[in-house]
């Protein structure tokens, strides 16, 4: 076999022997399914809250609850008015960028595997991908949404005003916990909280920011894991709420 000294530009060319394509396939499948599911439910715009028996368990895909909180009533799929923030955060997130550049853009599909030949590779220097630099703006809005999700989870503990607890509550709390772990492990947040400083020891504020930076760095080290876990908890929470609120089964809970 004759080989050339520079790698062949044919897509997929590699000397790798392992099943490098498994990961891109899984990523494409799950991100596509999640995206399609989210859009469908937002368009359906029904079955997003469990309200039977005085409960109020709001789906994270429909939070903040615009119709409930500010009496914003419309027959249009209003969820898109809130979804852009968390979806924007995810689609500009450094981890998700890595995964879609690899799996959807095939640039590269996997390490040491040739990507699709492009006339000119520009990375993140040109429109639209240069807009990924706006990530921190989405982070700010996503933090507001996280605040509402904690509010939703706590509100869910009150059934007609009395304290209660059930499977739905547990799901809500697990979900908002995982979402917070994802959101506060954000690379932009890590930069803003302390990473941007050159001197961690110079001032008392810098020292405080340094210890915060170290904590965020721990979360950031598992950012990929939290990205996936929280995506599935959002998905699972929404499916649960859809099933219960459409009457498939009822949410087991106990009111004290």
């Amino acid at each position: 076999m004759t080989t050339v000294a520079t790698p062949p530009r044919r897509f997929g060319a590699t000397m790798r022997r392992d099943r490098w394509w498994v990961q891109p396939v899984l990523v494409v499948t799950s991100l596509t399914l999640f995206g399609v599911y989210t859009i469908i439910h937002a368009i359906v715009s029904k079955y997003y809250a469990i309200t039977a028996g005085g409960a109020h368990l709001q789906s994270p895909m429909f939070s903040p609850d615009l119709p409930g909180i500010i009496q914003f009533h419309t027959s249009l799929p209003w969820a898109f008015l809130v979804l852009w923030a968390p979806l924007g955060l995810r689609s500009t997130c450094y981890y998700y960028r890595k995964s879609y550049y690899r799996s959807f853009f095939l640039a590269p599909p996997s390490c040491a595997v040739a990507g699709v030949a492009r006339r000119k590779y520009t990375g993140e220097t040109k429109f639209p991908l240069v807009l990924n630099n706006m990530h921190r703006v989405f982070f700010y809005f996503a933090v507001i949404v996280i605040g509402f999700l904690w509010y939703d989870a706590i509100r869910g503990l009150f059934y007609h005003g009395s304290f209660g607890i059930g499977v739905g509550n547990a799901i809500m709390f697990i979900n908002v916990f995982c979402l917070s772990a994802f959101t506060f492990g954000c690379n932009s947040w890590r930069h803003l909280i302390g990473g941007k400083l050159n001197c961690f020891s110079c001032t008392p504020t810098a020292q405080t920011r340094h210890s915060a930076w170290k904590k965020v760095s721990i979360l950031n080290g598992h950012h990929m894991q939290w990205a996936w876990i929280s995506m599935f908890t959002v998905w699972g929470t929404d499916v649960y709420i859809w099933l219960v609120s459409s009457g498939a089964f009822s949410d087991p809970h106990h009111v004290f």
Partner: protein, 274 residues
């Protein structure tokens, strides 16, 4: 470790033989010992079958960064890659790094990296260092442990250039004149994070350095034999610093420019071509 995992026995290696004008994979059979690494096998082939086989190595302890090659298609240090960790039922391919021109057989010309390195202004102390805090009476620099910790990770680099080799911008797109590559993004990050340094290299990181070309796909991090988190701890933090300077609408509104007081480096002398 199980017995079979340690096992030696007959193995087949396919080693790339050739030079700039072309080359091919050549088959070699050899009897291996338990615990052998790829470099052992290659050197044994050189000793017993192919005395003219060119291979570069030095410490055999994963510390000098000389024996970088592509084993079964992945950039690896030959001295750190055990034969028993590679599928036993298949031949082992050993090729030179693909991002650099081959000199002969497994030896590549990595001098482009040194030319890139020369474009980076080395550490230059700030002018107004605080006596007793940042500099002592003997003229020695003083730095708090907290500030060195973050940079010391980057000091582990052994300059094996496998991160450069795997980076698709260099490897596939051959944009050696537009992107310095992860190893040098990291060097510049470590200088930019230095509390006593007085040079503003951010424009260089963004413009000649080409950090915007990096799409954070993390292959550099995946192959680094020193386990340096190149993407997360060097490249992304620098991307964020450039966002501060160039893209953040809020900071623009407030007129906040980071790296205030740092001097611009001297103009670069050349664009490093491969």
């Amino acid at each position: 470790m199980s017995e079979t995992a340690m096992a030696g026995g007959p193995r087949r290696l396919q080693i790339w033989r050739g030079d700039l004008t072309g080359g091919e994979l050549v088959d070699y059979e050899l009897e291996t010992e338990p615990g052998m690494v790829v470099l052992d096998a290659v050197l044994e082939i050189q000793r017993s079958q192919a005395p003219d086989l060119a291979v570069r190595w030095n410490c055999k302890a994963a510390k000098c960064g000389s024996c970088s090659a592509e084993v079964n298609g992945r950039p690896r240090l030959m001295c750190k890659t055990r034969l028993d960790h590679l599928p036993a039922d298949q031949p082992i391919t050993v090729e030179p790094m693909r991002a650099f021109p081959p000199i002969r057989d497994l030896v590549t010309d990595v001098s482009w990296n040194y030319r890139v390195n020369k474009q980076i202004t080395p550490f230059t102390a700030r002018e107004n260092l605080k006596p007793g805090v940042e500099i002592n009476e003997k003229g020695e620099f003083l730095i708090d442990q907290a500030d060195t910790d973050r940079m010391s990770e980057f000091r582990k680099c052994i300059e094996c250039f496998m991160c450069q080799d795997v980076c698709h911008i260099l490897r596939d797109h051959r944009m050696h004149n537009r992107y310095y590559g992860p190893r040098f993004m990291m060097r510049m990050a470590s200088l930019d994070m230095h509390p006593l340094d007085g040079v503003d290299r951010l424009d260089q990181i963004a413009d000649e350095g080409g950090i915007g070309l990096c799409n954070i796909t993390k292959c550099c991090t995946e192959v680094c034999p020193e386990g340096i988190h190149i993407t997360d701890n060097a490249i992304i933090p620098m991307k964020e610093r450039i966002v501060d300077q160039r893209h953040d609408p809020l900071l623009k509104l407030l007129g906040r420019t980071p790296n205030k007081g740092r001097r611009k480096p001297p103009p670069r002398t050349e664009t490093p071509e491969l």
